[in-house]
């Protein structure tokens, strides 16, 4: 809906403009943080991670490609020591956040776009369209995901883009299911029918009303999709199917495993990337947590 109300005379137009300008207000911000501290913890962690990924070349103490003395223990110069080629593991860790996050986000975007389109169509239209789309979703749900991904990734050339595609194209089914059931719920509400009676087309209603009422589900699903895409990427990379040119956290663990990190008990090599994966996934899970609303109260009164 066009946001024209601020131009329109309204008795409490001041209130409205206040609402817009106050999004930067510190007090309001604090209030929102207090309303859902868990969510904001997640967002804060994510902001830090994205900042690290963007500024990796600036904050990394060394060039991760540069070789030196191998198998060093952590020191002031090499915070997490060096690997078998004498490359700085800390710098590699910072750089790897780029690959991991890019794979996570892009794969999640692909899976969400497919899942939401399928779910919307299957939920809104009746008849053979729904049968076809949901049948397809069920087939995809039945395919064991990880083994298929391993096979595909092994046959395709090991590049980051192939991994993104493989994950994105295989991970949309649960999104489609969730979106479809929400849409089924929304389409039974009377405002859908009354908007149709006003003469609006299906595509307008789908976009402005059905999608708008599904967006919470989609946001939540998106965060979880990023998290699971990162985990899938880590699994593939750990098995050695990752992109050797774009090192990710999963691949760091893979190298630590194959090149003697585990054997030599160099925890500073394999533990940090694992922890980074956990923290990132945790951040996304925290974001999806909803603060408790007192909607029941309204009902009671």
């Amino acid at each position: 809906m066009p946001r024209i109300q601020s131009r329109l005379y309204m008795p409490n137009v001041e209130n409205m403009s206040e609402k817009w300008s106050s999004s930067l207000d510190i007090g309001k911000f604090r209030k929102r943080v207090c309303a859902s501290p868990i969510k904001f913890t997640g967002i804060a962690i994510l902001v830090v991670l994205v900042f690290i990924a963007i500024t990796a070349p600036l904050i990394a103490p060394h060039d991760p490609e540069k070789t030196g003395i191998p198998y060093q223990s952590p020191s002031a110069d090499h915070l997490l020591g060096t690997n078998d080629l004498g490359q700085d593991i800390f710098s590699e860790l910072l750089y790897a956040s780029r690959t991991s996050l890019v794979v996570g986000f892009l794969a999640a975007i692909i899976s969400i776009v497919i899942g939401v389109s399928v779910g919307l169509m299957a939920g809104y239209y009746k008849g053979w369209i729904r049968e076809l789309l949901m049948g397809m979703t069920d087939v995809f749900l039945l395919i064991p995901g990880l083994p298929l991904m391993i096979i595909l990734a092994a046959y395709l050339s090991p590049s980051m883009w192939n991994i993104i595609l493989v994950i994105g194209l295989l991970w949309w089914c649960s999104t489609a299911r969730v979106v479809q059931s929400r849409v089924l719920q929304v389409r039974e509400m009377q405002f859908i029918e009354s908007t149709r009676a006003l003469g609006y087309s299906d595509s307008y209603i789908l976009h402005k009303h059905v999608l708008a009422n599904t967006k919470e589900v989609i946001y939540a699903k998106f965060s979880l999709a990023v998290a699971s895409a990162m985990l899938a990427e880590a699994s593939l990379s750990f098995l050695g199917l990752g992109d050797p040119l774009n090192i990710s956290w999963g691949e760091m663990i893979h190298f630590a495993f194959t090149r003697g990190g585990f054997a030599n008990d160099m925890w500073w090599w394999y533990l940090p990337p694992g922890l980074m994966i956990c923290i990132t996934v945790l951040a996304f899970v925290l974001i999806t947590m909803e603060s408790r609303k007192d909607s029941r109260l309204v009902e009671l009164i």
Binding site: D294, R296, L297, L300, I301
Partner: protein
């Protein structure tokens, strides 16, 4: 009304803390109910009538601040321990909740749910519970109680669900039934059936019927009208409806389609309890300076109380 009645409510207040401020849902309610008496509590949405029903059974959760006392058979409900409280609910006091279709668990058959309650209340066990469930279903007017017994709730229409709920609530032979909006959304025929059924099954019990429907209220012996968390008029139903003394009661009666559909002016405000004086004065034509003092619910005739300084 004697102090030794079945239910004695004194100074009952419930407040909800919300982001916009405290909402005093009900405020200083006094109520007496004798054995075998039926009382209708009438009011419009937001007047606190449902909250009152829940407060009597101590069903409000912890966001509600409750003050005052509710005594059932001389025992203070708000001082009971958990066992006594569980005994009270669904044993001595039964609630027929609002929204019949969502009040049953959708994945358990109707019969199972009724039996569960009967066993919990310690009335019957096993086969006896099943027999009693079937008996009450047929009392509730189902010609094929066996069929309803093994049905899942979604197979039943709104009116049928309401009847099954009533059968369930009454199957434990409670001493007090609280029926929350039993006729909401039902058509004329089902409404008449439901009201008849409630009174038939609850003939040995006392009943509080919470409703917005004056027609339903007519079937009860006594009537209390609520506005903005307070009782504004109380007395024998026939007398109150035929000779209302409070302007709001009069307004409600005249707003009925059969009585000319005269709207009450103004609108109800959730925060009107914050205003000084009579809570209805903004909407009242007879309002005068006197109305700036908060009126008391005072006896105007025998067995009849009104909260209005002009009554």
């Amino acid at each position: 009304m004697s102090q030794g009645g079945l239910l004695v409510v004194r100074g009952l207040s419930v407040a909800f803390k919300t982001q916009k401020g405290t909402v005093q849902a009900i405020d200083g309610i006094d109520l007496d109910l004798n054995e075998n008496e039926t009382l209708a509590i009438v009011g419009e949405s937001g007047c606190g009538k449902s909250v009152l029903g829940h407060a009597i059974m101590r069903l409000l959760d912890d966001i509600a601040v409750v003050r005052g006392s509710v005594r059932f058979r001389e025992k203070e409900v708000y001082e009971m321990d958990t066992t006594a409280l569980l005994n009270l609910r669904g044993g001595l006091i039964s609630l027929v909740p609002q929204s019949p279709s969502s009040s049953f668990n959708p994945v358990i058959t109707i019969g199972k749910q009724i039996e569960e309650l009967i066993e919990k209340a310690g009335k019957e066990k096993g086969n006896g519970a099943r027999k009693r469930a079937l008996e009450y279903l047929s009392l509730a007017g189902f010609s094929e109680p066996e069929l309803i017994h093994k049905s899942y709730p979604h197979r039943l229409s709104g009116g049928m669900c309401e009847r099954a709920l009533i059968a369930m609530a009454l199957s434990v032979e409670p001493e007090l039934v609280i029926a929350d909006e039993p006729t909401k959304g039902l058509d004329a025929l089902s409404r008449k059936n439901i009201l008849g059924l409630l009174h038939k099954l609850a003939k040995d019990a006392s009943m509080i019927m919470i409703t917005h429907d004056l027609k339903a209220a007519e079937t009860c012996e006594r009537l209390a009208v609520m506005y903005s968390g307070e009782i504004v008029e109380e007395g024998p139903t026939g007398i109150v409806l035929n000779h209302p003394r409070h302007v709001y009661t009069k307004g409600l009666i005249d707003a009925q389609p059969s009585r000319g559909m005269t709207p009450i002016k103004g609108r109800h405000n959730l925060f009107s309890h914050n205003a000084e004086g009579c809570r209805f004065k903004e909407r009242c034509d007879a309002a005068s300076n006197e109305c700036n003092n908060h009126p008391m619910l005072s006896k105007v005739e025998d067995y009849r109380k009104v909260r209005c300084c002009h009554a």
